[in-house]
């Protein structure tokens, strides 16, 4: 076997700013042409491993290291971040933030410019790299004219121009809609085939990465490698569940049905599964059994109504066209669709940030169009995606109280209301803490508390779980469910198909400014035509059910959700 391109030998690392090491005794070899997935929950150290490989450690983030690390045969600390960039190309998580150039061509050329490559040669290389990632027709485009997936392609082309031997992707799926995420994984696969570079993907969304072949999965937890196995072997073990990573849905379903996950059934992809007839029988039997967990939806009173809404930022382009739907009291609803489909615009119209060209928005039958932003906020609370975009006070108490100060409540009433809200959100013990001492998930709760304190009827959330690992995802979503159970109506804008499927019975689907469908979440993901038009992605449950001879994939998915729901609420086992 050839020499490894990257080799960690009993390596440890401690950031200069931190009191204890982040990485402990990492031993890991990555060989040319391999495709390795590094998985792990937030804070497991997986991104730190990535930073060690591309040289951000120690050059951008200094610290103490122990043991040895070789990248392309040299030790990073003896080298420079620049010469490492000729060996390892890194695509960062944020496709927008890392887009440096003013146009696609310039961004791809950036590394070449820094290398003083003459212009003619540069144009050639850029064109070639752009062809490799299918972006050659957009060389003149500015970043705001591109979708998230296209920007990521540009970033990839930008590192490909260096003829690197290894490609490192830091959470490549975090900011993409489901269909774009899928094509990103396909593209990575194609690029690897053509260039033969080693590929390292850091990601916690396992099922999505496994859409294409992965040779090896390295699982990290608390700064250590807890598993480093070929994909097949890895999935047959129990490592995932123990370390806060979500296993692929089809495997969960198989486990529920009592089919043991072994290497023999080829568990690495839903299409590669080789189930015996007996095993398929078990899945069918389990499917029949899930019937008893289903709950009928009760009819609820209508709360928010949107009628024939039309809107465009400029007269030439309509961002929303003839949108009508209603939200009922106590519901939990997902709004899904690709980036730019009009989801966020809809939220802005509902909150009154923008005025519709025509159409009506009413709450409890009362027209909202004349209400100011402030007045609407009494009834409709809006929580932004990133808590750092909302938090503006250093102390938790002040942050939560802020919205009340504008009203005419007495100090006592305010104190009572804030205390009550903090209790609902499980933040009461931290009420005197500074916000900066909280984790990301806790900060998210603080922003929700800051909205809840106004006691809105509806909470509108933009991507409530973006960038969260399974553990935090579950924490946030279970919290929202308890709020929902207390009578708050919750509407979520999301890219996360799991979230939609598991937590929101109903989904509203948007595409290019139009409402495409308003139906059950399970139906959305089992309707191939709808999935395609809205750039969503069918679940692996769909494929699994067909493989097992169940020709009602939608009911199979519903059964799966009902079963999981009953597991969470402790009715089974």
């Amino acid at each position: 076997m050839a020499d490894p391109i990257i080799s960690f030998q009993d390596y440890g690392f401690q950031y200069a700013a931190q009191a204890s090491p982040t990485l402990h005794h990492i031993t890991l070899d990555i060989y040319p042409g391999e495709k390795v997935l590094i998985a792990g929950a937030s804070g497991s150290g997986k991104s730190t491993v990535g930073n060690c490989i591309n040289g951000l450690i120690p050059f951008a983030y200094p610290g103490e290291s122990t043991g040895k690390l070789f990248v392309g045969g040299v030790e990073p600390k003896e080298s420079s971040i620049f010469s490492l960039s000729h060996t390892v190309g890194t695509v960062l998580q944020d496709p927008d933030g890392q887009f440096i150039g003013l146009t696609v061509g310039e961004d791809i050329a950036f590394a070449l410019e820094n290398d003083c490559v003459p212009q003619e040669k540069m144009k050639e290389t850029v064109a070639e790299a752009a062809r490799l990632v299918d972006i050659e027709h957009h060389l003149q485009y500015a970043p705001h004219e591109l979708s998230g997936g296209q920007k990521q392609r540009v970033s990839l082309a930008g590192v490909m121009v260096e003829q690197v031997q290894a490609l490192l992707f830091d959470e490549p799926l975090a900011n993409l809609d489901p269909a774009a995420g899928r094509s990103a994984i396909e593209l990575i696969d194609r690029v690897q085939e053509r260039t033969g570079a080693a590929v390292i993907i850091i990601e916690h969304r396992l099922e999505d990465v496994l859409w294409r072949r992965v040779d090896r999965i390295v699982l990290m937890d608390e700064g250590r490698i807890v598993a480093d196995l070929p994909t097949k072997t890895f999935l047959s073990g129990k490592a995932l569940l123990e370390h806060g990573i979500r296993e692929p849905l089809y495997l969960t379903a198989l486990r529920y049905a009592g089919v043991p996950i072994t290497e023999e059934i080829s568990p690495q992809h839903v299409n590669s599964l080789t189930l015996t007839n007996e095993q398929k029988g078990r899945v069918r039997a389990w499917y029949v059994e899930t019937e008893k967990f289903r709950v009928e939806e009760k009819e609820k009173k209508e709360l928010l109504r949107v009628e024939n809404l039309n809107f465009g930022y400029t007269p030439e382009v309509m961002n929303l066209q003839d949108v009508s739907f209603s939200i009922r009291e106590g519901e939990m609803v997902s709004i899904v669709g690709r980036n730019g489909a009009g989801k966020s615009t809809l939220a802005k119209l509902i909150c009154g940030f923008e005025k519709p060209l025509s159409g009506k928005i009413s709450l409890d039958g009362r027209d909202l169009l004349e209400d100011t932003i402030k007045e609407r906020a009494q009834n409709i609370g809006y929580v932004m995606q990133n808590p750092n975009q909302m938090i503006s006070k250093p102390l938790i108490w002040d942050e939560v109280e802020m919205a009340l100060l504008a009203g005419n409540m007495s100090a006592d009433e305010r104190r009572e209301r804030v205390e009550e809200t903090l209790k609902i959100c499980g933040l009461y013990p931290f009420r005197k803490w500074p916000v900066s001492a909280l984790s990301f998930g806790q900060k998210k709760r603080v922003t929700i508390a800051g909205i809840l304190v106004q006691r809105p009827r509806i909470i509108l959330m933009d991507e409530p779980t973006a960038g969260q690992d399974y553990r935090h995802y579950t924490e946030i979503m279970e919290f929202l469910k308890t709020l929902n159970a207390q009578g708050f109506t919750i509407v979520m804008i999301t890219h996360d198909m799991h979230l939609m499927l598991e937590y929101t019975p109903r989904a509203i689907v948007f595409s290019e400014g139009r409402l495409l469908a308003d139906t059950t979440a399970a139906h959305v993901l089992n309707d191939t035509e709808l999935v395609r038009r809205a750039s969503l992605k069918e679940t692996s449950l769909y494929t699994l059910s067909l493989q097992c001879g169940i020709d009602e994939p939608q009911k199979f998915t519903e059964g799966f959700i009902a079963y999981e729901e009953s597991l969470r609420s402790g009715k089974t086992r």
């Binding site: 971040i81 440096i100 310039e106 290398d115 590192v159 940030f353 906020a377 750092n388 503006s392």
Partner: protein, 277 residues
């Protein structure tokens, strides 16, 4: 979202657009020096004539830049007004003669010399402003950094300009999002509150904006370092274009104007052309 900016790059097929960024920058700088130095009315008239020709060539229409032109006009009028208020006899001093046309009150009289002086300072501004506006409206932002490097500015400084052009729209968008969400929490920026409250309220938007901008900076600087920015003393530019015949003509014109300007202006030891003596 995409509201029209007051002044930005306007793409048109014109010979002015076709000049390289470096040429336009050199022309703009040299032209500014010429007009700043001289008070020679004859030269200013020639420059103004050339200005009008260039403007026609550029295919930029007046209404494309009407907002900025209006702003410039306001400043020009104010400037003239204050010059007159503080130094009503300055023209007399310079041109060493006094022809009273009209007497207003106290020291304020209108003299032909003062009017002529105002004509000159107005002309100087009128000669520079269109060229400055054309430089911005006709230069592809992608070429800015390369053209700065072209006249010897460090590429690091040049790239800072380019990065600002790249990220300012993003930060603006973020500002709008944050301020809308904060307004929904009862923060009023509409001006109904007292000044101090408004100041406090704007902090509620600035803090999140600063935090998110710091994150953005970290990402950008990591991305740049990972792709070798700052490795060499020099760098090449994807968007730089070679100087063509027209570029040399434009640069030549700017140099000729500058040389004639300096010669005529300093020939007789005075910056002023004096028709009164």
């Amino acid at each position: 979202m995409a509201k029209a900016a007051i002044l930005n790059y306007i793409k048109r097929p014109s010979p002015v657009h076709a000049l390289t960024g470096t040429t336009k920058l050199i022309f703009f700088l040299s032209w500014s020096i010429s007009s700043m130095v001289t008070f020679d009315t004859r030269i200013l008239f020639v420059m103004l004539g050339i200005c009008i020709v260039i403007f026609k060539l550029s295919q930029i229409r007046l209404r494309d830049i009407s907002v900025v032109l209006a702003l410039a006009a306001v400043f020009l009028v104010l400037n003239n007004l204050f010059v007159y208020l503080f130094a009503p006899e300055y023209g007399v001093e310079i041109y060493e003669s006094r022809t009273v046309l009209l007497s207003i009150a106290g020291p304020y009289t209108i003299t032909a010399q003062q009017l002529f002086y105002h004509l000159n300072i107005t002309m100087k501004v009128i000669c520079v402003v269109p060229v400055a506006l054309l430089f911005i409206a006709c230069t592809d932002p992608s070429e800015f950094a390369a053209s700065l490097a072209g006249i010897g500015v460090s590429y690091r400084a040049g790239y800072a300009v380019s990065l600002a052009l790249r990220y300012i729209p993003d930060v603006q968008r973020e500002y709008i999002n944050i301020s809308q969400a904060q307004q929904a929490r009862g923060i009023d920026l509409s001006g109904k509150d007292k000044f101090f409250t408004r100041l406090k309220n704007s902090v509620a938007i600035l803090l999140p904006l600063v935090m998110s901008s710091i994150n953005r900076i970290e990402t950008v600087s990591n991305a740049m370092e990972l792709r070798g920015f700052g490795k060499e003393k020099k760098r090449t530019w994807y968007m730089r274009r070679k100087l063509t015949g027209n570029d040399w003509i434009a640069i030549g014109l700017a140099v000729v104007v500058l040389v004639v300007d300096l010669t005529v202006t300093f020939w007789d030891g005075s910056r002023y052309y004096n028709p009164f003596l």
